[in-house]
Symmetry: C2
Subunit: 467 residues, 2 copies
């Protein structure tokens, strides 16, 4: 136990008393042994506001922070201590008139986690300016102005924030930014990216969404490279769309540029989790070198007077995942709750079972548009092929073509913000607004066995560590 004792930050109630009694401080290296035999070792972290009152947070060897419930009969011992005296390593840099001006809008998420280098702890709070210090190369790429919009976790990034973010982007563009970067948690990046794609009409500059799958203190963090590539694109890329820039492989060799409406988080943990679905990405960025793979991009420098915001939405839209045996009751309940539009993720070409028909009939009668997208994720909703599809069409459902669920949900909110007429909504939903519908899909990008069949055993042993 140290001589200058301070109780651990942020803990409350009985847990705080317990930790104080044991003389444990923030940054203590502790060992916890529970009655069930499980044991843990790690650095005791300051408690963040949202942790439950009976959990402690420790940083374990793998670099992750974990929460441990601490029952009264668990043993807890300090086995080491290394004081943390974290302060924001803010760097003040003069504006370089030869470089483009880029605004980084921080919203929260892993890209924003900050590191106490002395203790190895990741602190949840964040000032974007820290990134600038963490990635000094940025000075050569652009004049980066970091601003914190809010600090929310990705899963709470709902329609209200889509609009606020779009407004903040519009303000920066009007004030002369040459490019925008949005720091965003990775979980729901595709939903927000799609919404921004519909909201920001006739963009004159790139809007680059970036995040990280590993917090910045981990040797494997993808944050610094992603932010460097995002800055390169935002400052110098001849592109004026909403895109996602994230690792292309599990190595640090390049990032892909994904159109926001065609990208999806396809792995819960991997660094190359983002995949353009049913198409190839727009390009890649490696060592500050941008390579576009295609020429159907909206280019930078459209007339600034064309640029406008269109954030009229109706948030009362929900999404249903069909499964065999699904009854109509859930959909009835949704209609009862007053939802104005429903996305159904149907099986195969977009089918639902017969028991759902009566709810479809009711939605038709009550003029609630129902848009069908496909559970396989790759490929199109086509309801003219089988009887079931034709039965569904007769009930007024709208084929969502090859829109991803993440792109379809904000689009239906946006369509309903403009009209309540079901035919008009159908027309908007089936019109390509921002790349969310393509007329064909590529073979490339479909999951295959890498290296072919002969290479199975090799790939089997080169498995990524699951954390």
């Amino acid at each position: 136990m140290s001589e200058e004792y301070t109780p651990p930050d942020g803990y409350r109630g009985p847990l705080q008393k317990r930790l104080t009694k044991e003389g444990l401080r923030t940054w203590s290296m502790i060992r916890v042994i529970k009655k069930d035999g499980s044991h843990y070792e790690g650095v005791l972290l300051p408690r963040s506001m949202h942790t439950s009152d009976d959990y402690i947070s420790i940083k374990v060897d793998t670099g992750y922070n974990i929460g441990i419930m601490l029952p009264d009969d668990a043993e807890i011992t300090e086995i080491g201590y290394k004081a943390g005296d974290y302060k924001i390593p803010e760097k003040i840099v003069e504006r370089n008139p030869d470089l483009p001006d880029v605004t980084l809008l921080g919203t929260g998420g892993t890209v924003a986690s900050r590191l106490d280098y002395r203790t190895g702890a990741v602190l949840p709070a964040f000032e974007p300016s820290e990134l600038f210090s963490a990635v000094p190369e940025l000075i050569e790429i652009c004049n980066l102005t970091p601003k914190t919009l809010y600090k929310i976790l990705s899963e709470n990034f709902c329609a209200e924030y889509w609009i606020k973010t779009a407004e903040a982007i519009a303000k920066e563009i009007e004030e002369g930014a040459d490019g925008i970067i949005i720091g965003h948690g990775t979980d729901t990046m595709s939903y927000s990216g799609s919404a921004l794609s519909y909201f920001l009409r006739d963009l004159p500059v790139p809007v680059v969404i970036v995040g990280s799958q590993r917090s910045s203190d981990r040797p494997s963090s993808d944050g610094p490279i992603n932010i460097m590539n995002a800055s390169t694109l935002a400052a110098h890329g001849d592109l004026a769309e909403v895109v996602v820039v994230m690792h292309g492989t599990t190595s640090d060799n390049y990032d892909f540029i994904h159109r926001a409406t065609r990208v999806r988080k396809m792995h819960s943990a991997r660094r190359d989790t983002f995949r353009t679905v049913g198409d190839i990405p727009l390009g890649k960025i490696k060592n500050r070198d941008i390579e576009f793979f295609r020429d159907d991009l909206r280019r930078r420098g459209g007339p600034p007077e064309d640029f406008h915001l269109d954030t009229k939405i109706d948030e009362r839209v929900t999404m249903l995942y069909f499964y065999p045996g699904m009854e109509a009751d859930t959909m009835h309940a949704i209609i009862d709750k007053g939802y104005h539009g429903i996305i159904i993720i149907g099986t195969g070409l977009g089918h639902v079972g017969k028991p759902m028909y009566e709810a479809l009939d009711r939605a038709k009668e009550e003029e609630i548009p129902v848009v069908i997208v496909v559970q396989p994720l790759f490929g199109y909703s086509q309801l003219r092929v089988y009887e079931t599809g034709r039965d569904m069409l007769a009930r007024g459902v709208i084929e969502g073509k090859n829109m991803l669920p993440e792109a379809a949900l904000p689009k239906l909110m946006w369509a309903l913000g403009h009209t309540k007429d079901v035919d008009e909504v159908a027309k908007i939903m089936q019109t390509n607004i921002a790349g969310e519908i393509t007329t064909r899909e590529t073979y490339s990008g479909f999951p295959i066995l890498q290296g072919g069949v002969k290479n199975f055993y090799e790939t089997y042993t080169s498995v990524d560590k699951i954390e």
Copy 2:
């Protein structure tokens, strides 16, 4: 107009009068021109029972059957006629005592579509014996006894049919079958395959689920090769699990053997739509040659007395797809409707937003197990990494590890059929029963850009035709 006129099969009401008035028969080649300028040509098909009353079915050049709504002001003309005199080409074959006995249980779906060779029409009705005639090679592989269990479309293949199918399989095994094939529509194959994997305990022989993505009349049909490969595995494979056998590539070169609990339909239309997710398949079959890629298989020939059925389930389970902004109201409605278990498909590592917490609290209080699986499909649900996850764990949710939604849904029904105790349910859900949970995932099988970045343009032009 033909001299021996018969009105077109199965049409009713005003539509029948209309077709009769125009002198159109089943198998007439017709042209339809609508006032909106759209026009169609194809063979008029007999109407199946479930088509809506104002639609006609025609078979178009691409081989697909499509439904066309026929308004009063549309022009409809016969432009040709080729009589169809379809009869079942049943082949009677003597049992060969040197070959294994395999039962093919037909349930409906595309594999079961039958062809009128003279007209090119696909008739929805089906007798499994026809397959035997269509794929004569089967005679050399096994003694195949085809039986029709029922004729349902895949999207209606719910828990009731899972149980009936399991019972039918058990009966065949008890009567001495050396292998079982289930003909199944592809849409929901993974759901049924997972259910059967939990129901059929200590299988002594292979249970092979097979289907087709293209009806048997199309030059590109995968049905015959899939059924041949499925028969090879059912008759000769040293394996005793529930598996799915479907095309490995878009060519006819080989089929993959997928463990039913780890496979997913990943494309709405492609022939190689089935992909083992997060792992490599069990093996492949090419020209009747079975190659296993791994040795962790359950092998054929377990003691027959160990084999037993365990179909105790509670069907009142539903599935929710989380999205940012999702309110608790839908989940409250589900609890109000009396569901006993909920699968939530969460973002990233399995997260839901804060507005959902109150519904999670209620589910905990009412002892309704909530199991979390991941929206990215690849990777694990891990709720100890971020605050949100820990908040969710504190509310009693159960990490679904790396179970696919298709495997998790029937498993939760099965777990609740055995116990209503939430802790017991959690224990069952987190225990690997039939390969649905693995301790690690392979790199192989994750979507990548085929041929690497250099090959983009090439793969972009070799795009599969979207039908």
